[in-house]
Amino acid sequence: MDTPVFPAHNYLSNGHGLKSWLLTKDHKRIAVLYLISISAFFFLGGLFAVGIRLELTTPQGDLFQPDTYNKFFTLHGIIMVFFFLIPSVPAVLGNFLIPPMIGAKDLAFPRINLLSWYLYVIGGVFTLFAIIAGGVDTGWTFYTPYSATSSNSNVAPVALGVFIAGFSSILTGLNFIVTVHRMRAPGLHWFKLPLFVWAHYATSLIQVLGTPVVAITIVMLFTERAFGFAIFDPQRGGDPVLFQHLFWFYSHPAVYIMILPALGVISELVSTFSRKRIFGYSFVAFSSLAIAIFGFIVWAHHMFVAGISVYSAMVFSFLSFSVAIPSAVKVFNWAATMHRGSISFETPMLYVYGFFGLFLIGGLTGLFLATLGTDIHLHDTYFVVAHFHYIMVGGAIMGYLGGLHFWWPKIFGRMYSEFWSRISAILVFAGFNLTFFPQFLLGYMGMPRRYHMYPDEFQVLNVLSSAGASILGLGYLLPAIYFAYSLKYGEVAGNNPWGASGLEWRTQSPPLTENFVEVPTDIPEAYEYTPKVVREAKLV
């Protein structure tokens, strides 16, 4: 076998200097810009999590003042949700991979793509300004009337930052929708698309339909705070519950903005590392759309104790259960794909296993919370915190990291250390469970979220959780080191180090600025892993 050579001409070598990056219209370079900026925000959000877990190692509030603690969990939430999780998979992996996956030279609107990154950065700057100016303490949900009239912290700049970052998300979604409709290579019809693309298409629909609603909600909150308008203010007849309806109309589907692209990544990885065509392709494809649609009609399950009517609560409870169906369709199809597949255990696949465990627990505990009776007991406890971390961190970040490990050789053309990356995958899985599983127990026993103190009997579980968080933190730091190391010293990857079947593996790594020398015209079925294809791929 020939040793692959690092291609001299690629998108990274096409233009040097800061200007060539900051004014680029290449979707791949914009993806790298996103990778750098969301990693910075992930680190910052992680620092706030460190503060939270340190404070909670003891029952007394001995590290922070109560209002400092409030700012810590607020900023942790805002940064992780709006500046890391929502852009993570779509803005980095989706941006980089959708054009080559569909045989296109770029997204439909390259300038809008760059604009979306700038909007993200400007939104981030507003948020950073608010942090420096003293932080914000409303919780990431900005509930009124506290956020509108009572809070003395920097609600307005953060709200503005989230508003602007929202438009970055809208523009990414818009770009993907048009790209998938209009930029596919000749002969690449919808049912030959990788499921990664289907998942991003469904995600984009949510971004486009949901984000404007939270944007206008933030505008209304902003006018109340800045000009003294009356929209949610109960003293003037306004309804704070209306704010919650509007907020969750976006923010519940936003959970699917975070998880759907990760589900798309998992479909790619399961098929590649089982050397088998995905089982039930069209079911997996349509389950993404089903999740996107169901996601829009379940929002009020966040408000079962907010005084909504019992009848609407029953309807929303029932509808919330229905999200389990398309989610289960995916999990069963992945399991069926692996059945009698030729499974291997490279790092990306380790993340898939981790994902299965965490997504399963996160999804099933969601059913507890969708059930009216149990939700009354569990509402606003650590059970909820544990549940959404299992989905958003255990699900979305496992998918993101798995995808990053899978496509890293494509993005930068070099391999990372397989040994260290396996260690980190295991650390992340173990650390994650140790951090968040005790929180299910704490919540069940009645520990409420968002308090800096707790009764003594909760200390053992809290210490376990903090210990797990330090392992998890180490698991997240390791990739930063070996990925950085691989950029210079990593083995040259070659076009297709995993023997994968997607179109993106047919071009060089890192790809040319135009992605392909010639747009591929012989489009195979998606996930074509016949024995012959596998043999030939291994020879390459």
């Binding site: 296109a104 030279k105 770029d106 997204l107 439909a108 609107f109 390259p110 809008i112 809208i170 818009l174 770009n175 929708i177 048009v178 790209t179 409709h181 209009r182 930029m183 596919r184 290579a185 000749p186 002969g187 690449l188 019809h189 919808w190 486009v208 339909l209 949901g210 984000t211 404007p212 609603v213 944007a215 206008i216 909600t217 505008v219 209304m220 006018t223 109340e224 000009f227 003294g228 308008f229 009356a230 929209i231 003293q235 003037r236 007849g237 306004g238 309804d239 209306l242 509007l246 135009e514 392909f516 020398v517 010639e518 747009v519 015209t521």
Partner: protein
Amino acid sequence: MSDAHVHAAAHPLADGHGLAADHGHAHHPALQHHFETMSQQREAGVLGMWVFLLTEVLFFGGLFFAYTLYRSWYFDAFAAASKSIEILPGLINTVVLIASSLTMALSVRASQTNQRKATVNWLLATIVLGTVFLGIKVYEYADKFAHHHVPGASFQFAHVPGPGEAHEEPAAVGHVTTMGPDELERTTQLFFSLYFVMTGLHALHMIVGIVILFIITWMAHKGRFDSEWHAPVEMTGLYWHFVDIVWIFLFPLLYLVERHN
């Protein structure tokens, strides 16, 4: 969902062109490098614009939702507040805006038929009409400030009975008023808050639209558009009509509540 087949047929690569070697025939100067044909570029732009307008519908939708809720809760306050607004400026603005949609449509038509001069003139007419709208809006806002109808600390609202309802008992108006003057003053703030947010965002969209119109007019003046490439005019038109339609909803909802009494 079978659009790939449609442009697959018209795809230059389908008849064997390579990426590097397809500069044998002249491209339209407006064709961007990542599109294969002008029609693909145009279709992408138009679809993108429609998706954008969809996001705008949902953006304003949140406001309409809040309006609907509060109007059903505090109908008397909404009726009283709405009646305090002068109809005439709003009516003139409605006519002005519909006229501007006509001039916009005519400029799109002119650009499609290679009439450069007419395109520019109709675009300029649209800009003028849009500016008239904003001017009248400024007058209306000033009026609200003068009457302390801006929500906040200095807000005042005294229910002045209209000619038809003077000295009548509330029950005779058609439905029972249960609100005292204090509650009316508090809850009319909801109406005026929504009035300012809705018309304010609408005006902001007009301002953005006028800026875009100036750019498009300049491009039309420079002869950038022809029958093959006029997508920017077309898409600006879509945007302008959308902003117009928002006003068509805002006018009756804000100006015409309970006017028949």
